[in-house]
Symmetry: C3
Subunit: 661 residues, 3 copies
């Protein structure tokens, strides 16, 4: 039985930055804007423990009281992303060390090494104090562990603590140095070790290290994030058993396995800043102008779907929860350039998240500080405490949520798109072509699905996740767990593999019997060669469209035929009927065409959308978004539906919601 929850708004608040006299006004204004959830505390260690062992919780008690008195729910962050200077000075080797061998010092945030046991103990201590004191507070709605694990490239640390931890981890994984040597192929270049104590971290070598070495270090580093987080969640569950636990993940960030961390969370959340990454999301120069103030039409959506999947890891699809913990309200301070959101964009972003089943969309932040690093980061209030643009947007969205009685109720999609963290690591370690990027590859297929108006489930590579679909797309999957393979073999879904899918085994070796390795049980073919191509050379396809930067040369087996060919005569898209393999990185035209054919084959309803229009379903409601600069008539999409809000001639960056019949 599925739990549906009311959709609502939140905000990130730093009471310690402002005089206590102001707090009541703040709380009142929040409530007036329709905000129900307030995240606090996540950077306040120096105020909670000004001197070693001398704690001060009074101010936080009062913050809880003030918010509670105004009917607001509290999300309490643990302050472990910002250990105070006295703590760092007490054990300087807790600092992380960069890939360049330099210690990453105090002066900003995230100055710690995940591997450091001493710092882990300090974190357990402060979290225990917080969990005991606030764990059963009536205003407490959720916990947030730490803040943005890995931000500023902090997952990997090349410290002494990491080196010793890594050697232990390898010892447990391989049991003998010979096993490690065999797995990694260390006979190559005489890299063989005689003991685990001989292994070094994979930085500062003369040239590239063994990719298997790099891969295991990435796995180790990811495991440290999981262990670090679990220390906190275990303490919280002991002292605050009723309260769900969240962490706020980030956009386009893959340095640890988010599914694994999510196994210890009740709520997956992420921090959505749509504008800052446009350069990386969009290849098309024209789009960089077109979407400057609203962000790539598909990138936010992909993250919503990905973190919805993360939110279901611990408690399953029925009880999965996901939030946007930080939502951009105006220009930020950290991108190379920081444009203002286009009129309408801030509201569009909220609805895009709610349409994807978000339970809470929480703005970052309540009031723009006049000091320190983020003083140029806009907020709901101006630095002088007066409402800024986004304050009224917030109010409007809150009213709309109320009016339509919005609940988080995303349907399971017929289409699953596999997203895998190990694959992201693998192709970063060994791209083979400089611009081969796993996230970008997945986004190409995701974009094509969105362009056909399909609501997608982004899923981990698990048997359960791919089961019961009509279409499963598996691009660039590094190495396939057996259960996925079985599930795909047992299903009658249309399946699209490639490029690079199944090309390696877990030890970062070329798959047995040539790629696509185990997937050859699904489709009889071998990849004999791959080539990567610079940006100024493409592979035109006879059927239209192109491959960019990557293609594979295939030896097809029994019953496999090419349905697309390169103009120079190589099989580009192969199929045996149910299973398809795409032997290159598709450009937008090709991705759209291939995905369209697969949707038809799978019997999934598809739309033919205007380039700026996107569609998304939540519960019985369909939402239509216009990301473009021009009004677009979408009455064909709305059809006979009961319009909840919006116009069928959809203004730039406007939203239309209607109840489907």
């Amino acid at each position: 039985m599925k739990t549906t929850r009311k959709q609502t708004l939140g905000v990130c608040y730093y009471p310690e930055h402002w005089p206590q006299e102001r707090w009541t006004d703040d709380a009142r204004m929040m409530a007036e804007a329709g905000i129900t959830h307030v995240r606090i505390g996540e950077f306040a260690w120096s105020r909670l423990e000004p001197d070693p062992g001398r704690t001060d919780f009074e101010w936080l008690d009062r913050a809880f009281e003030t918010l509670h008195a105004n009917g607001l729910n509290v999300v309490l962050g643990t302050p472990t992303a910002t250990p105070p200077k006295w703590l760092v000075d007490s054990m300087p080797d807790m600092l992380a060390v960069g890939r360049d061998g330099k210690t990453r010092g105090f002066g900003s945030r995230r100055h710690y090494c995940f591997s450091h046991q001493g710092y882990r103990r300090e974190c357990a201590r402060i979290v225990t104090l917080l969990a005991k004191r606030y764990g059963r507070h009536p205003a407490l709605a959720a916990w947030q562990t730490d803040n943005e694990y890995g931000c500023h490239d902090t997952v990997e640390s090349y410290s002494a603590a990491a080196l010793s931890g890594f050697r232990d981890w390898l010892g447990q994984k391989y049991q003998s140095p010979d096993a490690l040597n065999r797995a990694w192929g260390n006979v190559f270049w005489s890299m063989e070790y005689r003991s685990f104590e001989e292994v070094e971290l994979p930085n500062l070598a003369v040239t590239e290290v063994n990719p298997a070495h790099a891969m295991d270090f990435q796995r180790y580093s990811s495991d440290q994030v999981i262990a670090f987080n679990r220390i906190q969640t275990e303490i919280i569950r002991e002292h605050s058993p009723e309260i769900p636990i969240a962490h706020n993940f980030m956009g386009r960030f893959v340095a640890f396995d988010h599914y694994d961390v999510s196994a210890d969370l009740d709520i997956a959340s992420w921090d959505a800043y749509p504008i800052g990454f446009l350069d990386r999301d969009t290849k098309d120069e024209d789009n960089k102008q077109r979407y400057l103030g609203v962000g790539d039409p598909d990138n936010q959506a992909l993250h919503h779907d990905l973190y919805r999947a993360c939110g279901q890891v611990r408690n399953g699809e029925a009880d999965g929860r996901w939030w946007v913990m930080e939502q951009q309200p105006g220009p930020v301070n950290w991108a190379p350039w920081n444009p203002a959101p286009s009129p309408g964009a801030v509201r569009l972003w909220a609805w895009e998240a709610f349409a994807a089943g978000a339970e809470v969309v929480s703005y970052f932040r309540w009031r723009q500080p006049s000091f320190a690093q983020e003083q140029m980061h806009e907020a709901l209030l101006l630095p002088d405490g007066e409402p800024n643009e986004a304050y009224s947007v917030c109010k409007q969205v809150a009213g709309e949520l109320d009016a339509i009685g919005a609940v988080a109720d995303p349907a399971r999609s017929d289409v699953a798109l596999v997203f895998d963290y190990e694959s992201a690591w693998a192709w970063a370690i060994q791209p083979q072509g400089r611009d081969f990027d796993y996230f970008d590859l997945v986004l190409r297929f995701y974009r094509a699905l969105r362009q056909h108006g399909v609501s997608v489930d982004v899923v981990p590579p698990s048997g359960e996740a791919v089961t019961g679909r009509k279409l499963v797309i598996v691009p660039g999957l590094f190495s396939a767990p057996g259960e996925v393979l079985e599930a795909l073999a047992d299903s009658d879904a249309a399946i699209l593999l490639g490029p690079r899918t199944g090309s390696k085994n877990d030890d970062f070796r070329i798959a047995e019997g040539l790629p696509p390795g185990p997937f050859r049980k699904l489709i009889d073919m071998k990849i004999r060669r791959v080539e990567s191509l610079p940006p100024f050379v493409d592979v035109p396809l006879a059927e239209g469209g192109r491959f960019n930067g990557w293609r594979e040369f295939v030896m097809p087996g029994e019953g496999v035929k090419a349905v697309r060919m390169s103009k120079d005569g190589y099989a580009a898209h192969l199929t045996n009927g149910r299973i398809h393999y795409l032997a290159g990185r598709p450009d937008e035209e090709t991705a759209k065409a291939v995905v369209g054919e697969l949707l038809r084959q799978a019997g999934v309803e598809a739309l033919d959308l205007h380039r700026d229009i996107r569609v998304r379903d939540n519960g019985g409601v369909r939402y239509v978004f216009n990301y473009g600069p021009d009004s677009v008539d979408v009455s064909g999409i709305a059809g006979e539906g009961e319009i909840l809000f919006g116009e069928t001639v959809l203004a730039p960056r406007a939203v239309l919601a209607f109840r489907r019949r």
Copy 2:
């Protein structure tokens, strides 16, 4: 009563590089070329003190004699920019440390940390020896302290000496760690300190440090340059009381406060290499070709005006002195590419400096060395000792100076353009848009003034400097001293502010009551938002022209109206009549139009110049320069004036001088 001085030529000479037998010929040839001033000694420490404590002044005595005998005046440089190896080896911690944490070693020059007390004592020692020996020599015309403070990024050092000095400096400034925490806003991200000993230098942190932290370190670093220089000037003034002291500043260099260093100098000078920086000075691709051999038409001129202001800090407008200590005579060796000056350019540069009131223009250097780092740097003589091109240019200019009886006599301009070093630091620390550069911003307004034929005073942000003007332009001023505000309020000048002017307070916090902060007393408006934009997006204005890369969103108050609007409907240029605010970074067209309107409003005479033509007044003489590749008829400018030299159809890179009636 204003002191006017004869304008004359100089040269930089390294007698220690050449056999003594050659010196007499050199001196004779200098005199023959009309050179009167010869700078020597500034890199000669290893020859003055070959071993610790063992000095050798004989050769320098003889150099003085030889020059004196030929009627030449000596400018003596202190050799502290090049401590010898034995000195460095005696205290290796005197070396500076780079931002990357690496010690910056011996092997070139400027290998010292300004904060190091031991090195300061060594400098005092050698300067005392020099000042005592040569301080009253009849040939001595001026001193130069050190050489190009800060060249090769040497102002900031991240050494142990700097750390300890910085902590003391903070202690003196803030008196208590809590005061520092409050000023910087260290509650943000738990960056609070419990003692000054906890503060680190602002490098090697995980991500950006608090901008207030970075700003105070820049102030500290600037103060060390001042202190370092003052040790030398105090010794010199004691032992050589009659002789003026100079330092040679650089182009486009802002890492310390040049006004403050100038408070200890009688002469401000700078090293003018017009060609090397064209890439940075000119955004227009076409101009990069057009001015390849002559340099940006406004960049040198801006520096002349800036260093003229520096030269007036100690002794006032009436007794201010400024020189070009090093003037490029041909291709140099240090830019990425090193083109030859266009025919005429070397002469044009000299006259542009004299027209701006320079007292001495001194060529770098006398003879091209055949060895070491600068062997590809052209000089007045070839490496073989024969005259090179610039030698005859030098002779020609000397003759012209004589012929017209040129004296340094710059008039006070009706137009002041404020240039401020703290602002340069602030916007480098927190550009908010990657290409926001303070120097470039000031240059845009300066260029517009030059394009209208106006001779400008570039001035510090002081009450006195802005008083008595008809037009004051204040772009991007970080934080406004009260006296400036009062002076502007009391004046009846037209005033142009913005963008970013008054947006912070001294503690690097957003100005109280929103930007433009204290300037809101002059014009009633608030900036509620800024946005930075990538190079491929502009903000077109309804009235023509564009903002590039930066704009602000304004809430105008009582009596303030927009005289320019962006095409998307936001106020771009606001005014209450006398005070104007420009809410974006103007392109060339906009800057020229706005400045033109303001000049008209202020009643300042303006010209409509050809794109390659510039005009400058010194004393009663008007100089007209043609920076372009084509001849231009400038008879309209010359009018009825008495022509001193040049033609009214001005050849490429030619100069016309006429006495105004």
Copy 3:
């Protein structure tokens, strides 16, 4: 009496990577493909000596046996490029230190400092063991010392061992610190040393070091490679006196003097990967697409000619030997992008090498590994052990070699092009214009010669090498040995000098009496000025063509006149009849025109080739290559020759061979 040797194919093989059961099949398949030479062992130290002092040669014995049994010749590599971890841990200071001061650690290959005496002893030990065991084995055809000296920028090391070695080296060269100071011109910037112990390595200084300092360090570093290699060759010659010694050099690699290393080698070989460097070889954007799958038409050829010269250093022209030790068989793994060779390209490369007189062309590698760093590097066999494309190419070429009875028999060319390693160092140390690159400069003249269908000798700057030619081209020669000058003076060849030729002396000082220094004895002229120009400005010549990025201003003397002028009126190409000087860097049009005129003047037969066609003679056979994407009719070239293979309408990437009459 000239030794001619049969031309044949080889392959690089790593038996230690594969089960011994497979070896026999491998050997059989090699023999079937026509392969005769098999390189083994060069990375196998950890297998030869798994623990300190505990050796295991059994597997290598068996590998020898297996290959021998199949009639294959062995090339045995010494394993010193990959010292095992235990060895590194026993003396960690054997690791090299990068220019950035960071130790370059274990984890890949080439982790050693050439200067380290302890590591040299370890190398002597392992090489002695190998030389004694295999030095007289009947299968042994050649030795290879180490592998790719200098790969991954490993020639220069900034370690303690290097510092102490460098100081000794300077002591031996200069005998007194004063002599060093005078030679380097250390009076400049007070860089004078009082003892050799004061000299530092030329890294980590504040700004650029003295170019003489950098140059001597490069010479020192080159000398360490020579010394390191010689230790091995002396041991091998003692224990394996009959067997020739090779080393495998690299493409576009100049960090040590290859002629000097070659003085200890019987065979010069190089590793030819034509595709990876196309970006650096070709300036023309269109060519980057045109030749993507085949590589620059002249770059490989230039290397063949250069290494043919290296192969003649020890044993003279008559007994010189050169090989391609590693030949690319398909996409590689190490370039930014790794395209597949165009159909035909792999065969074309082999024939281009044989046509240049190569004795062996050896493919890298036998079988694509499924593990470690090079798993994406294609080979003759697929990872699964089945033949890949290049296997059949190999077979075909072997058949063709047999059919025509090919022998290595390159004729001495009438045209010599001087290539000098010190010049490459000099212009890298002091380019004066960012893109001035010595290799590129030589390639411009080489390309022009190839475009005229001329087979060229690339030669060192020695008297012997330039003697007996009809045309000698000497571009950018840093400093000229007296014997070269004498040989050129005594010859009646046409000679083309410049730009930059003779501009410095050995001490890295501007040549006495101005450039071209000693060459002024050949042609009476002086360079008074040089300028470097950014890519967007060219120097058009009145006679057509342009100089790019570099030109010189000349004062011509007696009997010297300009035969080319720049459009702005400066002499661009000067001559006194026999001797020519080109005062700028020629674009393709200019280089082709100038070289064409010189060929005519010298009476060397030239062809007018299609842009994609190249021609090469070996013995009595002329080879014609089509590098382009279209078929080209070359019957005019073949004329009446007896066609050995190929068609006169030459398909893309095809080869035509005919016996000349």
